[in-house]
Symmetry: C2
C-alpha cells in the first residue's frame, strides 16, 4: 500500500487573470501557457511522480466539480471533494486530511495549490522526497520554501534557522512566517539568505496535521472528526455541507503553521511562480526577439515589443504599435493594459 | 407623377473598414457612427427629401440583396436591383437608368454611393435642387463637387471654370476630372480655388445619360437597351445576368464623364466624407476631452488619448495606456493599429 496522498486545492477564483479567468472558469482550469494543458492538469501530472493517481484528491468548490472531472477524466468522482462555500485553506485541509486518515491512518499528505507554475519537475520530486522523509520520520509539519530570485513584494516569506551544518542540510527549522513585505524589507530578506518564499506547498502525515489542528483549532478538528462515520458513504456530502456552514474562515498558515513548534522548511530552488499576475506569467512564456509572448494562431504582431498577447485560437488579429502591453481577449471581454499599470487591474474590474 | 428617382449604389466591399466591414457585411451596411443606423439607411433617409421612397432604387450585388431588404424593409423588393457580378459603376448606372427610363421616360436620376457620410442635410437637399434644375432645364450631366478643406490625396478632384459671374453661380462647367493627386498637386488644387473634391454623386435626366452612353459606350448602351422588353417582368433578372456577363468593367467617370462636353459641377460645401479609412471616420465621431471616440457600451478607457474604439455592444473591455490608436473588435477579428500606420492596413490584411 502506498502511503503517499496528494491534496490539490482547486477552489480559488483567481480574478487577477481577467479576462481569461472568470468566476465560472478560474485560473487553475486555464491553459495560460498555451501548451494545451491547464494548470490543474499540470499540477496533477506533476504529482503522479510522487503518489499513485488514485491517491490524488482534488478539493474544489461545488460549482467547479464538473470542470475538474472534465479536465481529469482519469480520476474517480470520489477523488473530487466539494466544498459548498469558500472558507480558506484550514477547513479544506481539515476535511481532506480527516477523510484520507479514515481511509489510511498512515497516510502522508502532500498539499499543493492547483494554480501555480513549477518548472524543473525532477528537482521538485527530489525536494518532495526530502520533505516526506522529514514528515514521516520526525513527525514534522513541512513546508516548501523557494529560494528568492528578487525582492518580490507579492509573496510571503519564511524565516529559517541559519547554518550549513545543521541536521538535514536542506531541511531547516522555521523561525517565522512573514506576510507580504514592503520592498525595503523584501530586499533585506533576500540579502540575509535566511528567508525563502512561502510556496504554500505542505507535506505532513495525516496524523501530524490532525494533532496540530486538535491542539490549535480544536473546534475545527472536532467538526471534521465527528464526521468519521460518514466519510466514504453516501452521507458524506450532506455532513460536510453542515461542517462548512459552521466552520471558521481561516488559512492553514494562521490556524496552525504560525503556532506550531514542529515546523520545517525544505529549501528548494526549482522555478516556481504563483502566477498571481499577468506579468508573472509573462516571465515564463516563450518570447520572440522583440520580447513578445504570443498565444494565438492567427495574429499579426507588427511594430510591437515586450507584449503579452493571448487571444482565443480562432481570433484573427492585427496588432500594431504597442509597447509593453498586455492584450488578452476572451469571449465577451477584452483587456489592453500597460504592464506597469497591472496593479490597477483589480480596481478597474470593480468599476464594471 | 414625381419625376425624381434615386439610384443608390450599394455593391461595394469596403475592405478598408476591417474588421468591422467584411465581404459578408461591407461598410454600407454598418452603423459606423454608432447611432443605430447603417450608412445605407442614412443615405436612403437623406434621399427621401428629394424623391418619394418608391422612386428610390438600390443597386447591389446579388449576395447583399437580402441585407438591403432587411435594412430597408419599407421598400418593395422590385426596388432592389441585383448585379450578378461586380462590374464597376458604368454598367450599374446603365442598368438602373435603362430600367427607370422604361418606367418613366421623363425621369431625373440622382445617383449616390451608399457608403458616404453627409452632414448638413438641408444644404445637401438645396444643392440637389440646384443640380436637378440644371440637369432638367439644360440637359446637363451634373456632378456634385465638395469644397476641399485640406489637400486630401485620397480623393479625385474636379477642375471647373473660374469666375463668380458665370451663369448659375454655384453651377460651373467642368474642365477636367483629376485622379487622386500627390500631396504637392493636391495643395496646388486647393490653393487655386478651381478644384473641388469629386463626390461621386451625379444628377441627370435618364434620357441624357442614356444618350451619353449611346455616344461614348455604344455597346454598353445596346446591351442594356436591348433588354427593354424584359424590364419589370419576371425575365428581368435572367436578362440582366447575361448583360453583366458580357459588359465592360468600367467606371462612369472613365466611360462618360471624362469624355462628355455637357458636364457641370455644382459647388457644394456640406460636410462630406467617403469614409475611406478609419481615420476619416474618426474625424466625424463625437470625442471626449482627451480626443477619444468610443463606440461600445461597456468600455473603461484609461490613460488613453486620441483613440478610436469600436467594440460590439456586449463587449466588456478595459483599455489602458493607448495613444493615437484604432481598436476595433468584431466577431472573430481584432484590430489594434496606430492611426499613423493606417495606410498599411491593406498590406496586413493580405498577409492572412
Amino acid at each position: 500500500m502506498n502511503n503517499n496522498y496528494c491534496i490539490i486545492m482547486a477552489g480559488g477564483i483567481g480574478s487577477r487573470f481577467w479576462p481569461l479567468s472568470t468566476p465560472s472558469k478560474p485560473k487553475q482550469f486555464l491553459d495560460v501557457l498555451g501548451i494545451g494543458k491547464s494548470l490543474l492538469q499540470m499540477t496533477f501530472e506533476r504529482l503522479t511522480s510522487i503518489a499513485p493517481p488514485e491517491n490524488i484528491y482534488i478539493v474544489t468548490n461545488v460549482s467547479y466539480s464538473n470542470l475538474v472531472q472534465e479536465q481529469l477524466p482519469e480520476i474517480n468522482r470520489t477523488q473530487i471533494l466539494t466544498e459548498p462555500i469558500r472558507k480558506n485553506t484550514a477547513p479544506c485541509i481539515a476535511y481532506a486530511s480527516s477523510k484520507i486518515f479514515s481511509i489510511n491512518p498512515d497516510a502522508t499528505l502532500i498539499i499543493a495549490p492547483s494554480d501555480h507554475l513549477i518548472l524543473n519537475e525532477k528537482k521538485f520530486t527530489n525536494i518532495l522526497e526530502i520533505a516526506i522523509r522529514s514528515a514521516v520520520n520526525e513527525d514534522r509539519l513541512v513546508t516548501l520554501g523557494i529560494k528568492p530570485t528578487r525582492p518580490d513584494t507579492g509573496y510571503g516569506y519564511i524565516e529559517f534557522e541559519a547554518g550549513e551544518n545543521q541536521t538535514g542540510g536542506q531541511v531547516r527549522k522555521v523561525i517565522n512566517f512573514k506576510e507580504k513585505p514592503i520592498l525595503e524589507t523584501a530586499q533585506l530578506f533576500v540579502d540575509s539568505g535566511n528567508y525563502y518564499w512561502n510556496s504554500g506547498i505542505f507535506v505532513w502525515k495525516a496524523s501530524t496535521i490532525l494533532n496540530a489542528l486538535k491542539t490549535f483549532k480544536p473546534k475545527l478538528f472536532q467538526l471534521f472528526s465527528a464526521e468519521n462515520n460518514f466519510y466514504n458513504t453516501e452521507k458524506e456530502q450532506d455532513a460536510i455541507n453542515k461542517c462548512f456552514e459552521f466552520c471558521e474562515d481561516i488559512s492553514i498558515d494562521f490556524a496552525v503553521m504560525e503556532k506550531a513548534q514542529n515546523v520545517d522548511v525544505v529549501l528548494a530552488d526549482f522555478d516556481w511562480s504563483d502566477l498571481g499576475t499577468w506579468v508573472s506569467l509573462y516571465q515564463y512564456l516563450e518570447k520572440d526577439k522583440k520580447g513578445n509572448a504570443v498565444i494565438g494562431e492567427n495574429i499579426q504582431l507588427v511594430n510591437s515589443k515586450n507584449c503579452l498577447i493571448n487571444l482565443s485560437q480562432n481570433k484573427q488579429a492585427i496588432i500594431e504599435g504597442l509597447d509593453n502591453h498586455i492584450v488578452v481577449e476572451s469571449d465577451n471581454m477584452l483587456l489592453i493594459l500597460s504592464k506597469n499599470d497591472e496593479q490597477n487591474l483589480k480596481k478597474y474590474l470593480e468599476n464594471f
